[in-house]
Every structure is written in structure tokens, then in C-alpha cells.
Symmetry: C3
């Protein structure tokens, strides 16, 4: 069961070039392509003639050409060429999906096209601010549901156990950090402050801290797919808590966005941006590499968890204190899922 009336990242914008790209989203085969005018099209990946995946075709002047018998479709799914005949029957089209290119992502809407309001797409302006926030992005395939990956990001106590050898550090620090959570209709935000604390080695190495720091972790979940992370530290006394921008120390931004592939697998789109040493490409690369290694650890643990839950279910699991944010997130998701299935709700909009 997917929440279909929502925007998901279908691809990094740069992935959609002069070759069609097949990708399964919400368990539907989708083909993405960029037409000669530069516009991205998203179609069901099945030619209306003989069912061949359009992803094995090619982009030509008029649109996407099927690799079997040469029918051509434009970005709206309309068949514009059938080799050997002039008349194009009315039924000759393939389903298209609303798709919007924004903030270096291609956002797709898998539900009712009439409800696909681009204003609902989250903002991630840091992707466009290459000067202040140089970034690098990746796509991990996860053998676990998008929900399990979001669970993962809603309970950071896992850092000490999953990421002990990478970004984790001391388990107790993560368990004990006091957290301030703001809940809202479409998600939640939690902020954790570790005031007057010893900076982790990564931080010190990156910007040369010599003393203690005020450190923050700011996570915002925007249902149903994205988590916007801002973490960093300023030297004690530099007014980290009072500042809006918190410049002059260490700070990073991570976009985490989970797109369901099937009920038990997902696409994990993530990017890292460094708000320090912006003129040094090595800083961007170093941050990316550390996070990439850590997320492989999440990939492994979530895949193992999914296998077990797929077999034995989760009817008997026990919630603990650190699940608070996760539980609120699940409630938001349940509400969205109910709305998604309700035509009445739709009519009322």
C-alpha cells in the first residue's frame, strides 16, 4: 500500500539525459526521458503496441521511440509516429505521470493527476546554492521499504550501534541527548543540542576546532518521503543557539528522500552539502565519502530487518521510549494513507 497522491523523487535531474531511464516507482514501471526541448517526460514503461519496455528505446526528434517497432511517444504519452501508417488511432497512447524538475531533482506524482499541485513539492534551496553549499548526491537501492528507512531516520539512537565504526561515536551520547520535538500535521521536526561538548573527530578535522563546542542536530520530516537534516557546531560562546545561519563553524546539510520501489524495497536519494571550506572540493568529497560509508551500514541493517519482518510480520513488536518521533511519523503516514484511499476526501479538496 503506497501513498500515491504525493511527490516523490523519481531521479536526480542529471540522470535524465539523452537515453531513456527505466525505474520502478510505487511498484509501477516508469520510463523517464528528456525530450529534445529539454522537458522531462515520465511514462508507463510499456509500449501500447506490443508491450515492450520503452526504456530499451531511444530519444529521437519527436520523442521517445520504441526499440521494437519504432512507435514514437511525446512527453505527454501521445503516440506521434507509427511507422508504415499515417493514421494514428485514438487508443495509441501510454499513461503519463506528472513530473516536475526542481532543486536538481525530478519529482513525480504517482496518484491522481488532477491532485498534482507543484506547490506541494518541498523546497530544498541548498541544492541551488553551489557557492555556499557545494554538494554531492547519490542514490542507494535499499532492500527494505521506504517506511523502514524513514523509521531509521526518526530514531538516532541507532547511531551508536549501526555506525559505531563510522559516524556513530559513543552510544550513550546519542541515547542521552535531550531532544526537542515539534509535531505538525505533515511531519515533525526534532532538534538536539549538545552544549559545551567535545566535538567529534570529523568536526575537528574539518574546521580545526581546538576547544569545546555547542553542537546541534536538526531533523525535519516532511511526509511522506523527505527528511531535511542540518547538523553542525560552533565554538562555545559564538552564539550558536541565537544565530539563524550559524556560520563560522562546522555545518552540513543532508537531504534524505525515500521513494518506494516496491512494498519491500526503495530508492534512497541523498545528498550532502558542506557549509564550511566551500572553496575546497576535498571538503565536499570527504564529507560525502564519510556519509556514503555510514549509509551502507543503514542499507545492510534495514535489508536484514525487512527480510525478517516480511517473514514474521510486526504484530508483536514492542515500542520503547526512543520511538517517540517514529510513532508520530507513523501516525502522520497513516492519516495520509487514509486520505489517499478516500475519494470523498479528494472531492472535498
Amino acid at each position: 500500500m503506497f501513498i500515491r497522491n504525493a511527490w516523490y523523487i523519481a531521479a536526480w535531474a542529471h540522470e535524465v539525459g539523452d537515453k531513456p531511464l527505466g525505474r520502478r516507482i510505487c511498484d509501477e514501471p516508469v520510463v523517464l526521458f528528456r525530450d529534445r526541448a529539454g522537458k522531462i517526460g515520465a511514462l508507463i514503461d510499456k509500449c501500447c503496441h506490443r508491450g515492450t519496455p520503452l526504456a530499451i528505446g531511444k530519444v529521437v526528434e519527436q520523442g521517445l521511440e520504441c526499440g521494437y517497432h519504432g512507435l514514437i511517444f511525446d512527453a505527454t504519452g501521445k503516440c506521434v509516429v507509427i511507422p508504415g501508417q499515417d493514421h494514428i488511432p485514438e487508443k495509441a497512447f501510454v499513461r503519463s505521470y506528472p513530473i516536475v524538475e526542481k532543486d536538481e531533482c525530478a519529482w513525480i506524482w504517482m496518484g491522481d493527476p488532477a491532485r498534482a499541485d507543484p506547490a506541494l513539492i518541498i523546497d530544498y534551496p541548498w541544492h541551488n546554492d553551489h557557492k555556499k553549499w557545494p554538494h554531492k548526491h547519490a542514490l542507494y537501492h535499499i532492500e527494505g521499504s521506504a517506511m523502514l528507512m524513514i523509521d531509521n531516520l526518526m530514531d538516532l539512537t541507532h547511531l551508536g550501534y549501526v555506525h559505531g565504526s563510522t559516524i556513530g561515536g559513543n552510544p550513550a551520547a546519542h541515547v542521552d541527548a535531550k531532544m526537542e520535538t515539534t509535531r505538525n500535521e505533515n511531519g515533525l521536526r526534532y532538534v538536539r543540542w549538545m552544549l559545551n561538548s567535545v566535538p567529534p573527530p570529523t568536526y575537528s578535522k574539518a574546521v580545526g576546532f581546538t576547544g569545546r563546542v555547542d553542537r546541534w542536530q536538526d531533523f525535519e520530516f516532511k511526509a511522506p518521503s523527505s527528511i531535511i537534516q542540518w547538523s553542525g557546531a560552533l565554538e562555545v560562546g559564538k552564539g550558536a543557539q541565537e544565530s539563524e545561519t550559524r556560520e563560522g563553524g562546522f555545518s552540513l546539510r543532508i537531504l534524505h528522500s525515500l521513494t518506494p520501489e516496491t512494498e519491500t524495497t526503495c530508492h534512497y536519494f541523498w545528498s550532502t552539502a558542506n557549509g564550511y571550506r566551500q572553496d575546497d572540493p576535498a571538503a565536499t568529497e570527504q564529507l560525502y565519502s564519510e556519509i556514503a560509508a555510514a549509509f551502507l551500514e543503514d542499507q545492510a541493517v534495514v535489508a536484514a530487518q525487512q527480510r525478517r519482518l516480511s517473514e514474521l510480520g510486526d504484530a508483536d513488536v514492542v515500542d520503547i521510549v526512543s520511538d517517540a518521533a517514529r510513532i508520530h511519523m507513523r501516525r502522520v503516514m497513516d492519516r495520509l494513507a487514509a486520505q489517499d484511499r478516500s475519494p470523498a476526501q479528494h472531492a472535498a479538496e
Copy 2:
């Protein structure tokens, strides 16, 4: 659903030697072997004792010996030896299938043995005429149904799109070629003439054409499994259209024969024979190599098509003009399938 009352190629005759050969046909596991008298046997690949596949056994003096406990079966499926006991119970036998060796193929009948008339096996005399038609053959495993492969061969407009980099040439030439089709109860034949045309590079290279040619493509579908192809060209003025044998130019013959393995996979038996430079083994080898490369392209596209149709079905596909031969072929197949399932029809024969 398979048409079972029909002859299919189970194997190239030379494949059936002194080792048993297991092969799935119409979703039944079959073991083929050649007994010491040279006769081919085709049995269900399951020992009647403990269910072990006979294909892991060996051919001995009295027949095919099971590799587990040594029971021996003759080519009719009768158990002739049980180690450790003299009495052989009546129930000790395995199902056998009618099988006929003809034209270098082993043809099997998966349906009612009483209806297995060898006269129904198609003739392919060119396999036996090594002097005039030296040939070479192959077996491709296709991750698509036999029906999708036959579809493929009934609509040559795919040449320009699937085989663009191999034997395809200009898409428009294939789409525009005028075609004469003769339909009959058990199949159809289509002949395409490209009179006074520029020969393709392959043709010129093979026989040294310097001017224009009269070129033909002759495809005969014999339900349910075989397509007999004769293609070639003579120099303009050499009477290609009037001649029965069309010697003195370029000409090739291909047997395409599709044997269902499962509902969604098949065995593609094919051979190429060169009707030119017959004394030059390089000519035979060269023709085979070119075709082999092209058929790998069909293998890939049909596998992709099958995956999509297996998932999403074909209820919504749209026929186009170039589907005419394919549609007649499907009608013939539907009629045969209905006959196949009808015992009344059988009784009436």
C-alpha cells in the same frame, strides 16, 4: 497453455549422444538419450522409483540407467533392470514421448501419442543437402514465450529498430517493402520483393554484386512452431522472379523453430545455410556469425517484452497495420489451441 498435439524440435539430433540430455518442453521435464542401437528415446525425466531425474544417470547396454539406485529403462520407458531383484513390477515404467529423428532434428510429440503422426512433421530437406546448402545451427534460450518469438518473425518492421547495428539497415526500407501474403489453414507465407534495389553490404560482400539486384524475402510459417525463411538476390535481368531455384546470386535459408519451454520461456532452434560459395567454409561461418549476433538482439528485446507482459498483461495493446501477418498467425494458433483441448475434435479426426 500449450498446443501439445504437435511436433516440436526437442533437440538437434547431434545433441543426443552417449549422455542423457535433460530439457524442459511444454513445462514437462524430459530426458533424451540415444540407446546403443542408435535409437532416440524421450522419457519423463523422473525415475519411477524415487523420483530422481534420469538426466543425471548414464546410457548403458540395456538403456538409460538411473544415477541413484541403478534402475534401467529402455527407449519406450519400460523398466528392464532393478538391481537386487528379478521381478519387475508392472508399475515400474516411466512415461515416454513419441520422438522422430528427421532432417538432423529430434522431433517430439508432447500430446496424445495416438495422434502422433510422423507425416505431420515439416520437411526441411536443406539440412540434408550439405553440398548445395552447407549449414550451421544453434540453440538460443529465450526468456520469452514461443509465441512472442513467432510474433517477432511475423513482423519484419522490427529489423530497422532492433537490428539497426547488425542486419537491419534502413528502417523505412523494411516498413515500405510491399508484401504478398498467402494465408492457409495451418499458417501463412509472405514474400517481399525489392526489385531493382541496391543490395545490402552483406550481400555484396558475399558474392560481389556490382550493380542493382532483384531481392526477395520469403517467410513461411507452419504452425505451431516453425518459420522457413528463404532470402536472397539476383542481379537485375537474371530472372529472379521467374526462376524456381534462383541460383547464381546470393541466397540463404534459415530454419527458425520455437519450442515452448515454459509459458514464458522457449528454446529457439535455428540454422543458417548458404546457397553461394558452398565450397568455402568461411562463407558458412560468416553468415552464421552475422545472424547469431542479430538473434541475440531479438533475444534481449523479447525477454524485456515478456517481463513487461508477464507483469501487466496485454489486454490493452493496440494493433497497427504491420501486424497483419501476426494477427493471422495468432488466429491459426487459437484454432489449433481449441482443437488441442477438444476431445471431440480428436475423435472426429
Copy 3:
């Protein structure tokens, strides 16, 4: 359908060390670990918090720590630590299985814990007598049910066909050997004597026989999982048949123990012990290597048999004379299976 109220080998004792070991038994995921006190625990391999397999966790002072959020379980399955909270809810535990370390094996009980009487575990004292019976053991994964492997060991006529190139020798010798079988409620024992016979090359090579020998094969099946084998030979005239210990010639012991993994796969635990040249490690190694090669042949044939039976069933198989022991074994198993499912039977115990 498994016989659950029975002891099975879950692991060789040495396999359970300072890292948790996940293993599927009777189609349940189990995690084995040895706590700091040296006691083995066997738990369901699913954390009660978020369903993560405990096998990816680690052994710590207090027990087995989940690799995701750090909950810790003791060997009884009780949760003893939840990071970040003092109160441990009553529901925070995972299922544990009775497990007993004996004779270098970890024996598990997958059924009703109340019926798990350690006295029911078979004795295999030879594993503890390293001086007289130096041994070496292995674990083969079999793509066939435990039942098919036990079948295999109940009918040695397969030696001539499956093991022709290894330990098999002449098929007729195995088929013709006279066998004395003693049946009992929980199994059977068969002894085969080949008096005044030529010793096999392996035997002669091992202990330097020069003349004829009295040779025995003694197999005892103890339902539902183990076969205890004792084979060997003494020179003619040394009183092999009269002796209890039959020392002074060639003799080996093999434990075969089959633990169901799924309905169609199993774990084959086996060990070889040499009752000759006990001070020569090469003798132990040589015996092990020969048997290891032969059992790979069983692994292959049983996997092939399982594939066929999984597809086509065994309703039509035909029993033969050499199946006598196998048929009794199956009757014992059927009776145990019926008991296993019967709560009344249980109450009566």
C-alpha cells in the same frame, strides 16, 4: 511439516563462539550465541523492538545486543537492557529454545519446551574420546529435505551408482550383501557382513591388509534425525564377529545428523572418526577427505531428486526390494509426526 518435539543438532558446539550465529531450523530463524559465562542461548532471530535479526548484533557482557538500537537479551530471551530507559516492559523478550551442549554438538528442541527432556538426546561418546577416536566434522547444506537424506542413508545400494568414482566400488557387491535388520519403535539397525572378502583399496591402504578380511557395516537410525555408522574389517580369523570392540584392523565411525532447515532443505552435520593409526593426524585427515568427496555426490543427487519431487510429487513412485529399511524408517517417522501433532498424546506422556 516437521517433527518439532525432538532434539536436532543446531550447530557444532565450536561454531557458537563470541559472535552470534543465525541459522534456520524447522523453518524458523534462530540465533545462537554463547554468553560470557559460556552458556549457549538459542533465541528467535528477531528483536522484539523493531524486528531486526539479532544475528547481526554482538555478544556483550549482559548477553546478546541487538545491532540496531542496542537492546540486550540474556540466554533465556529476557530483555535486560533498553538504552535510554530504566523500565523494561514485561513484553520485552524474545522466544527462546531449549538447547543443550553435549558430545561437541549444540542440540536444540523446536517444539513444546515442557517436553524437552535432555535424556532423549542420543549419545555419541566417540566425539569425546579423542585418543581412541580422533575425529573431524563438517556441515553440508543440502538442497533437499532431511527426509530425502535419511532415505539416502537407509538404502546403501546407491553406493555403486552415486559413489562409483569415490567410495562406491562394485555395485553388485552392495546390492548382494546380506543384511540383518533389527527394527524398533524409534528406529532400526542394520548390519551387513561381508565375510572372507577382498578388502577395498581404502582399507588396505589405511592399515596394510594383505589377505582377505571379515568386513562389517553397522548403521543405526535414531529417529528423527541421526544415523550412527560403524564400519570396518579385521583379518579373517581375528574373530571380528565375536568381538565387541573389533580392534586391530580397520574401523571408522560416522555420525550423520540431519536437521531440517526448510521443507525442502536441510543441514547435514557429519563427522568421521578413525579407529586406527590414531596417533597419525594424516589418517584422520585422509578419512575425512574421502568421505567429504563422497558426500558431495549425495548432496548433488538429493538436490536433483528434491527439485523433481517438489515439482511432480511422489504419489506415483514404486517401492523396490532394497527399500525395506527405508520403508520402516518412514513408518517410524509417520508415527512420530502423528504424535507430534497430537496434544492428547502429549498430555498422556
